[in-house]
């Protein structure tokens, strides 16, 4: 037996997440908006005063009133109810796209970064090809080829969005690849896939969370764009993009529909961006310029 170590033990440092969070006003504002939108989306059917597809032909283009707080649209449907259900649609798309792109992007990015060689080249060339198209335009192209619908929106936004996750993951893996604990794990007989899960994933997850939360803003915006163009979410299911399109025809006389939908869309995007930026400042100050 050898002598006990003489060196003093450094006390375990506490996580500084909450103190940093409390000082970051953007993060707080973003969190409030995001929480509000998420809660509204989850309980949409419970809190919406009317059914989103309940028409009232005698009461079209109604101005805001105690019965219809934001008025009604061309078919006499309650705008507030459609906004609330629209939030649910937007977030469903965002969650589905995030789930798909994070799974595919992280998996392929880790494989490319860890194994390198031909596999890396093949994956990254596909990424480059998709990157070569402007993302919204590529999504519009895909969506019009696939035919309208919520599934189409999810698929086409996933296709344009996973390469960014893959590229970020790969670069993070490449940075960690030279850490000696990876070599130690190989020398200990840890199989490659276990190394990726045990040693890489926990060390790259923070920047990926940041990237994903900033990405939600883009996904919601892109979904609204597709729906605005009529190749996204279809009637009678409400979507903010579709509501803006419907409202634009009567913007001068009956602005409530377009204005309320744009405001909801704008606020939500700002909320997610503030939230994402705040998370980035707190979790990973290194990637500020990315």
């Amino acid at each position: 037996m050898s002598a006990t170590a003489l060196e003093p033990t450094v006390a375990r440092t506490k996580s500084d997440f909450w103190p940093k969070f409390r000082r970051n006003r953007n993060a707080i504002a973003g969190t409030i908006i995001v929480t509000f939108v998420v809660v509204v989306a989850i309980f949409a059917r419970l809190i919406s005063p009317y059914d989103y597809d309940e028409t009232d032909i005698l009461f079209t283009w109604a101005h805001p009133s105690p019965e219809h707080l934001l008025g009604t649209d061309a078919l006499g449907r309650d705008i507030l109810s459609r906004l609330i259900v629209g939030a649910q649609v937007s977030l469903t798309v965002a969650v589905a796209v995030l789930a798909i792109t994070l799974t595919v992007g992280i998996l392929l990015g880790m494989i490319a970064g860890y194994f390198g060689g031909k596999l890396d080249s093949a994956i990254m060339r596909v990424v480059d090809i998709i990157f070569a198209f402007p993302d919204i335009i590529f999504a519009i192209l895909l969506a019009s080829a696939l035919g309208p619908g919520i599934t189409t929106v999810i698929i086409s936004l996933s296709v344009v969005w996973w390469p960014g996750i893959a590229r970020l993951t790969r670069s993070l893996v490449l940075q960690l690849r030279t850490e000696l604990y990876v070599d130690a794990a190989i020398a200990s007989g840890t199989p490659p896939f276990t190394i990726l899960i045990r040693h890489f994933l926990p060390n790259i997850v923070a920047p990926l969370i940041v990237r994903a939360s900033i990405g939600v803003g883009f996904i919601i915006m892109a979904e609204a764009t597709l729906s605005f163009l009529g190749i996204g979410v279809q009637e009678p299911r409400p979507s903010w993009g579709g509501m803006i399109r419907d409202g634009i025809v009567s913007l001068r006389t009956e602005p409530y529909l377009a204005l309320s939908a744009s405001t909801a869309l704008g606020l939500t995007i700002i909320g997610f961006n503030l939230f994402g930026d705040g998370l980035r400042d707190i979790l990973d100050p290194r990637i500020k310029d990315r």
């Binding site: 037996m1 000696l180 604990y181 130690a184 020398a187 007989g189 040693h199």
Partner: protein, 320 residues
């Protein structure tokens, strides 16, 4: 006599640069035709200047790198060209302690999981792992209750002990110590060196001890191999090497070991010149550009690595 590890004509080249089509512009020969054998229970010290290829030798033996040519025999089995899945069962016999105690421990894992990783890979249960990790912590001189802490709670020396505990976890036969104490303060270095010596005595480990510090190597090694520009230039027992170095480079290294007593301190014999670039090694003996005893033959002809006395190998036309 059956060697635990035998290395024959081991060579590793790294591609340097790339042209338009991605073909390498040159090959850097980091390890050139190295042969040696390790007997069970001994410590072989590997010394040489920074960049001489000693770390690469360690990584080749660990099969973290694939050799360009040559053979590595472990207990008589050729492990040179094993695929990674074939190599995995052998990995329990060859473990490693790295130089940098910060980079070598995953900051997101508890000490229990770091030290227990090799055990987990070789099929031990959760309880067995916890028990063995506690035992290992005691062996390396850390309180077992520290095992549910994260690496950042430990100092450099303590981290190195954790690295040693990990290396010992699956009771390996050979441990490659790659500059295992170079990143530590001198007082901590001594503690870790003594720990390694204790562990070796206790478990009959074979150590390959790689270091640029001849004083450290001397303290732990039975035999010492000296490397220069990717080649072995001398291999001898510790006593013989220090008493009577045969290669001029070894002599220069020994002369450069700091002498604590100013009274016995002589004038430092500094080798002239720089190490030649390994991309463009000089013809003949690689040491001929700096050798005090250089002659015409040294510039023309590469000396053989030959056994001049029993157990004394040297690569020099004019040894002694």
């Amino acid at each position: 006599m059956s060697a635990l590890l035998e290395v024959r004509n081991l060579t590793k080249e790294f591609p340097v640069g790339a042209d338009f089509l991605g073909r390498p512009l040159a090959q850097l020969r980091a390890v050139d035709d190295i042969s040696f054998a390790l007997e069970p229970g001994e410590t072989l010290g590997f010394v040489g200047e920074s960049g001489c290829g000693k770390t690469t030798v360690g990584r080749l033996i660990l099969r973290l790198l694939a050799p360009t040519s040559g053979t590595i025999l472990f207990e008589g089995q050729d492990i040179t060209n094993l695929t990674e899945p074939e190599m995995r069962p052998r990995r329990r016999d060859i473990q490693v302690v790295f130089q940098d105690p910060y980079s070598s421990l995953n900051p997101r894992l508890m000490v229990r999981d770091i030290v227990g990783e090799p055990l987990k890979n070789f099929g031990h249960s959760r309880d067995q792992i916890d028990q063995r990790v506690a035992e290992l912590m005691r062996i390396v001189g850390l309180p077992p209750e520290y095992m549910s802490r994260y690496p950042h709670a430990f100092s450099g020396g303590q981290r190195q002990r954790i690295g040693i505990a990990r290396a010992l976890a699956v009771s390996p036969k050979l441990v490659v110590c790659d500059e295992a104490v170079s990143a530590l303060d001198v007082s901590i270095q001594a503690q870790i060196l003594n720990l390694l010596a204790d562990i070796q005595a206790q478990f009959g480990l074979t150590l390959l001890f790689i270091s640029h510090n001849l004083g450290v190597v001397r303290h732990v090694s039975h035999r010492i191999a000296v490397m220069y520009l990717g080649r072995l230039v001398e291999l001898a027992s510790e006593d013989a090497l220090f008493e009577h170095p045969l290669h001029p480079y070894t002599a220069a290294l020994i002369a450069a070991v700091p002498e604590p007593d100013p009274a016995t301190r002589g004038k430092l014999a500094v080798l002239p010149g720089e190490i030649p670039s390994p991309l463009n090694p000089p013809p003949g003996c690689p040491f001929n550009t700096r050798c005090p005893k250089v002659e015409a033959r040294c510039r023309a002809e590469l000396p053989e690595f030959r056994e001049v006395e029993a157990g004394r190998w040297v690569r020099c036309h004019f040894p002694g």
